[in-house]
């Protein structure tokens, strides 16, 4: 502990670094979607209430605890909490402040690398060509993240991940002052300038008031919905980067008498500028202006990745200077991502340096190795739900829990009076006294309620994996889809007959026309496509390709506009699956996607079991048990969907899996089982972090030192 810890060189440096930590994809993609879906302008009421009672106080608390811990030469959560609480158990609570940033970054850097990849493809013009239509843009994104697009002989997603990882570590390698602070001082102004360019471009679009109207017109009825308040609180929590442990570490490098009150508020203000003003103006309004008001709902509900990687490149592709705006957009997001990910690296580095007595070179080396392994786990496990799981446990659960722990420790363990004094020491502004009351009572209560609400509204279902069996059928669920098509074409059992009667007429037409010729024709077309890929090399989407794509659709006599009018497309589940599989081009593939989409639509039919007569002899024990519970009126919506899925799967026996399957490293795995193993793995890693903490504390006799200090 004898080595001297670094300090920030300037106040503006730390403000920009913390603001950079907070500004990320959520500002530009998550906020507008959440706001539009939760009352538009009216959403701003719970949002600002959460900002004042939750975000601002919690940020001040985290800054205070961090600077306090820094005085004792601790920069990571275990050391800081131990120094604050002065009890041996506190350091183990702090392990969440290591687990959170590490696990968020394990997938965040991967997602960030997509942005770098897209910058590259925007510069090369590939993106401008691909952004002509939803199917091509969607296909490009899908193929990029599933490692099918190659660059220099390796998957492009892997290539850009490695570059992004090296870039991140290169920045933190130079330390807090020469690395993070300098990078933030360069990148944050660039981020603001790029954001302003996009803002001006969007605000000068014709009919922009339409788009702004969708985002800002208040719908006050939404304020009565508890989910809206929950969404607003969640957005504030995530956007300000509180509860992760990054601010805790950053502020540990603040000098003892240096201001934190104004710095924290400034960082929050900068984040709000980039979120509400810039983020709120770009995505949704531009999308609605360019794609029409009729698409408003689907755009708002498209999800963060669809908005960022499919919708937005298409929108900028429609504008003059498409390539320029695509580059600006993805560069903007990439810089936002880098400033966040370096802040998430620092708690781990600080833990290695301050608690494990490693030097910077050693800590960078160890963490780079860990990140490479876990990052590759994200790269290759994306389809199996690895990223979703990490996001859930580190990016949601750990975040809210650790935020609550910090608020309680500050107000009730350290004591709000002592904490208040510490917070205001060296302050360049005087924090209004009302916040003392807010921090003692309102913020901890708010957080505890938020934690309970989060578990009740969304967390519990994910924890128990409820609803996973009611997910739609994917190609992986069916090892022999042609056998299923054959069963529906010529049903041999009563249940197969029932399924046939429930299939849409459009799909039935495809099934009844299915023959070996269809498969042969498919193989021939795949060969033609492969030829095309070979000709184009690693350049995936080109004008030639788009033309070829349209040609194939026309050959099949199923123009896109005709597909959109199909009756079956009114079923949401059907649309989802069909949308995902629409990229298939041949009749064979279209038949498969139509069959899977139809079977998936049946899963969502509430009265599917009641409306049909099934032969129970073919049902498995699980299905029969669900039927018994159904008779007792003991099934909720998710269970009914699960029953439907089981019935359909039982009908086709081993040709269709009742449990959703996933692909990991080329193997097909049971998704539920895979997630269970992954969770055990996460727990083991958390346990290892705690063992390391315990061992090093013991080795350095830190608990003993603490006792002596107290005595």
């Amino acid at each position: 502990m004898a080595k001297k810890r670094e300090n920030w060189a300037s106040k503006i440096g730390v403000v920009l670094a913390v603001a950079g930590s907070a500004v990320g994809l959520g500002n530009f993609l998550r906020f507008p979607g959440v706001a539009a879906a939760n009352g538009g302008g009216a959403f701003l009421i719970p949002y600002f209430i959460a900002f004042i009672f939750l975000g601002i106080p919690l940020a001040w608390i985290e800054w205070t605890l961090g600077r306090y811990g820094g005085q004792f030469e601790h920069g990571s959560a275990p050391g800081i909490l131990n120094a604050v609480v002065r009890k041996p158990w506190a350091k183990y609570l702090g392990s969440l402040g290591i687990f959170g940033p590490l696990f968020i970054n394990f997938y965040y850097i991967f997602v960030e690398s997509w942005l770098l990849g897209y910058v590259w493809y925007a510069i090369s013009g590939t993106l401008a060509n691909a952004s002509g239509a939803f199917p091509t843009m969607g296909e490009f994104f899908s193929q990029y993240i599933t490692l099918q697009i190659q660059i220099m002989g390796i998957p492009a997603a892997l290539f850009f991940f490695i570059i992004t990882l090296i870039l991140n570590f290169a920045i933190v390698f130079f330390g807090v002052k020469r690395g993070i602070e300098r990078a933030s001082r360069i990148m944050m102004p660039i981020l603001v300038v790029l954001g302003l360019i996009m803002l001006v471009r969007v605000l000068t679009l014709p009919n922009i008031s339409q788009g702004l109207g969708f985002l800002w017109n208040p719908d006050f009825s939404k304020l009565l919905d508890i989910n809206v308040w929950f969404a607003a609180s969640g957005q504030i929590f995530f956007t300000l980067s509180v509860g992760i442990g990054a601010i805790l570490t950053y502020s540990s490098y603040v000098k003892k008498n240096q201001d934190i009150a104004l710095s924290s508020l400034s960082a929050n203000a900068a984040n709000e500028f980039l979120e509400v003003i810039i983020g709120g103006t770009i995505v949704i309004p531009a999308a609605i202006v360019m794609m029409g008001a009729g698409q408003a709902e689907s755009i708002a509900n498209a999800g963060t990745f669809n908005l960022g990687f499919i919708t937005m490149p298409m929108i900028f592709g429609m504008l003059p200077f498409a390539m320029f705006f695509q580059i600006v957009w993805f560069l903007l997001l990439f810089i936002g991502g880098v400033t966040s990910s370096i802040s998430l690296l620092q708690p781990g580095i600080s833990f290695c340096e301050d608690e494990l007595n490693m030097n910077r070179r050693q800590s960078i080396g160890v963490l780079f190795f860990v990140f490479l392994i876990m990052g590759l786990f994200s790269v290759y496990g994306l389809g199996a739900g690895v990223v979703d799981e990490m996001d859930f446990w580190a990016g949601n659960f750990s975040l809210i829990l650790f935020g609550t722990i910090m608020a309680v420790i500050f107000s009730w363990v350290l004591g709000v009076d002592k904490g208040w004094k510490e917070m205001n020491r060296g302050g360049d502004i005087k924090i209004p006294v009302i916040f003392k009351f807010i921090m003692k009572y309102i913020t901890p209560t708010y957080l505890i309620v938020l934690l309970i609400l989060w578990v009740a509204l969304s967390g519990w279902n994910t924890i128990t994996m409820k609803g996973i069996e009611s997910s739609p059928f994917k190609p992986l669920d069916s090892p022999n889809i042609t056998a299923i098509i054959g069963d529906i074409k010529n049903p041999q059992t009563q249940n197969a007959h029932t399924i046939r009667n429930n299939v849409s007429s459009e799909t039935l037409l495809l099934i009844d026309n299915y023959s070996d010729t269809v498969k042969t024709s498919h193989n021939q077309q795949i060969l033609k496509l492969n030829e095309l890929y070979t000709i184009r090399g690693e350049e995936f989407i080109t004008e030639d390709y788009t033309a070829r794509f349209m040609e194939i659709i026309n050959i099949e006599n199923v123009p896109a506009e005709q597909l959109e009018n199909l009756e079956a497309l009114k079923n949401r589940q059907f649309r989802k699956v069909f949308g995902e599989t629409y990229r298939y081009k041949t009749t064979y593939e279209r038949t498969i996607s139509a069959v899977l989409a139809d079977l998936s639509a049946l899963i969502t039919k509430e009265d599917f079991y009641l409306d049909n007569a099934f032969d129970k002899a073919g049902f498995s024990g699980d299905t029969l048990r669900l039927i018994e519970r159904y008779k007792d009126d003991n099934l909720d919506k998710a269970d009914i969907h699960k029953l439907n899925r089981f019935i359909i799967a039982d009908t086709f026996g081993e040709n269709l899996s009742s449990m959703p399957q996933a692909e990991f490293l080329g193997f097909t795995v049971n998704q539920k089982r895979f997630i269970s193993f992954m969770r055990i793995g996460f727990l083991i890693l958390l346990l290892i972090i705690n063992i390391i903490i315990g061992l090093f504390w013991k080795k350095n006799k830190l608990d003993l030192k603490l006792q002596k200090e107290d005595a």
Partner: protein
């Protein structure tokens, strides 16, 4: 700065409260099926009676909106339907006059465009949010740069004294 904040509060708070009271702008335009001209901007249900062009449509009507659903307003003004939400775009609305036995006695149809536009409430919310955030940024960052200058002076004085 304090004065600016106080003035801003007094100017924007009433606007903000006013914004809360403003309902969403009418979203329906009725277009004449003959020449496509706008004939009405109000198609709405006031109380329990359906109005087209600010006049009660019929004593008893059934209104069907293709692809969305239908509802009936009976002679007593009761609306027999769930809430209908029109997606943005063009819609054809069929209006049936019903006799006591619920048989249609006549029928007419109109085209309706549900238009998305920024309402006054929307503008107020946007301006309020933007100005609040800009004011907070001006307050914090001017202070940061101001204090930085002051603090450069202080240590110099101390250093000089030490020497």
């Amino acid at each position: 700065m304090k004065k600016i904040l106080i003035i801003a509060t007094f100017v924007f708070l009433p606007l903000f409260v006013y914004g809360l009271r403003i309902e969403q702008a009418p979203l329906l335009w009725i277009i004449s099926p003959k020449d496509g001209r706008e004939v009405s901007r109000s198609f709405e249900i006031k109380g329990k009676v359906a109005y087209i062009d600010d006049k009660p449509a019929f004593n008893s009507v059934m209104i069907n909106i293709a692809g969305v659903g239908s509802f009936v307003v009976d002679v007593d003004g009761n609306v027999w339907s769930k809430e209908l939400k029109l997606p943005y775009g063009k819609h054809t609305i069929e209006v049936f006059g019903l006799d006591k036995s619920n048989k249609p006695v006549f029928r007419t149809s109109v085209s309706v465009i549900t238009e998305l536009r920024m309402s006054v409430g929307g503008w107020i919310f946007m301006v309020f949010a933007w100005l609040s955030i800009i004011a907070l940024n001006i307050f914090t960052f001017t202070n940061i740069f101001k204090i930085k200058e002051e603090k450069i002076v202080e240590p110099l004085e101390i250093d000089t004294m030490d020497e």
